[in-house]
Amino acid sequence: MALKTEPFVLNIGPVHPSTHGVFRMRATMDGEVVLDIEPVFGYLHRGIEKLAEQRTYGGFIPLTDRLDYIASMSNNFAYVTAVEKLAGIKVPERAEYLRVIMAELQRIAAFLIAVGAFLNDCGAFFTPFIYMFREREKIVDLFEMVSGQRLTYNYMRVGGVSQDIPDEFLPALRKFLDKMPGYIDEYDRLLMQNEILLARSKGIGILTREKAINCSISGPVLRASGVEWDIRKADPYSIYDRFEFDIPTGTVGDCYDRYRVRIAEMRQSLRILEQAVAQLPSGPIRSDVPHLVRPPVGEAYTHIEAPKGELGFYLVSDNSIAPYRCHIRPPSLINLTALREMVRGWKIADAIVIFGSIDITVGEIDR
């Protein structure tokens, strides 16, 4: 006698260890196979774009920390470059270098979390994650030295950064730069050829090059699909045209490629850090900017290569002290566009791995 079966709806989240925050997927299942999913957003919606309209240009910087809260420095960076473009403000050399140093450290810290959480989703429960946190801790210590904070740094200012680095910063950074390559080698030894990781991620959740471009995917996910596109190279902002680094890309666009690209990106960030530390000039860290910035009427869009992808700010000014409109281009939200097609037909356990390989932060999705 044939068994009677029918599709059923499974709710994953809003709070679930694999959902990386308060994110929910409504999955339609046929037994263990995912027929369809629908991402459900909004559990962390705070109306940050609306709040921006009631704050001064400088006063909005702390709120940018709360977007992608595991990469606050990148958010600060993207926002202040947008205000500077809008108001035509120049930034001193030393501040540019400090920004690049912080942004690259932040990239490494964010990729450590991305890779650790991805391995969690693969079933390597918390052992690799805690290894990654060992190194991230060093970066967070460095950030604490410069900003006094360990998560929401609020470090950058319109026209520069809030304060110069203390004396103990550069020796501690040197120590980190010496040790980190060895740690990355350690991950490679542990994981790159690990049979279970290969079985769980190779050929799973393939995102083709054409699909990735059509879905406006950005960051490591786009590069894993074989597109050599990094905003730091394609449209250099700040002083990125002065550094030598490569763009790691994948070939297939599967979960393994996305994992591998992130590991390779850490090495490139270390290369940039080495160059930035060697070239770091002395001088002022902030240009003379009035407390209340009043940009001329107009609009500006700037984008940076944040750990998740293209993080952009679109600002419209009406010559008052607050933005008339502040739109945030969230890489985490847009990178999920293709999720539905990526997980269809895979088993539920694979769907979790595919979702983990995209690497999102809900603070940035919902805003």
Binding site: C215, S216, I217, D235, P236, Y301, Y314, R325, I334
Partner: protein
């Protein structure tokens, strides 16, 4: 460095192909009539030499008299970019054709604009609120909200 293509040059090309489609154009952007928006955007994507295959982002701004929807387009091949805009003058039921058939990346962004700004994108297969709950009243990013 990404080159910003002049809105005037692109407007010239569009005007040849779609006469009367351009409302206004300058160095930084061009504004097209909303009826021909999908046709012009598809032309920009598929014409050799322009090849705007990547939609950076879509957003909307409320200027009281009209809503302005902003499309930032890029070409990953030629590394150039431009800004196309469209305006909605109807405050009660503003609507624009969806571009999801041209760039799938528009999916969540159009839903977000509908949710927060209240612009309806016709032709979008799943036009419903994305962040706020279904029976929420109003569209918070409008200037007359609150």
């Amino acid at each position: 460095m990404t080159r910003t293509l002049s809105g005037k040059d692109i407007a010239g090309q569009l005007e040849e192909k779609f006469p009367g489609s351009i409302v206004e154009s300058n160095q930084a952007h061009l504004i097209v009539k909303s009826e021909v928006l999908p046709d012009t955007l598809r032309f920009l994507k598929e014409t050799a030499g322009l090849d705007f295959n990547y939609l950076n982002h879509i957003t909307a701004v409320d200027y009281y008299q009209y809503f302005e929807v902003v499309y930032q387009l890029s070409s990953l091949e030629h590394n150039h970019t431009t800004v196309v805009k469209a305006r909605c003058y109807d405050r009660e039921n503003p609507s624009l054709p969806s571009v999801i058939g041209i760039w799938q990346g528009a999916d969540f962004q159009e839903r977000e604009i509908y949710d927060l700004m209240g612009i309806n994108f016709t032709g979008h297969p799943n036009m419903k609120r994305i962040f706020l709950w279904e029976d929420f009243q109003g569209h918070p990013l409008r200037k007359d909200y609150l």
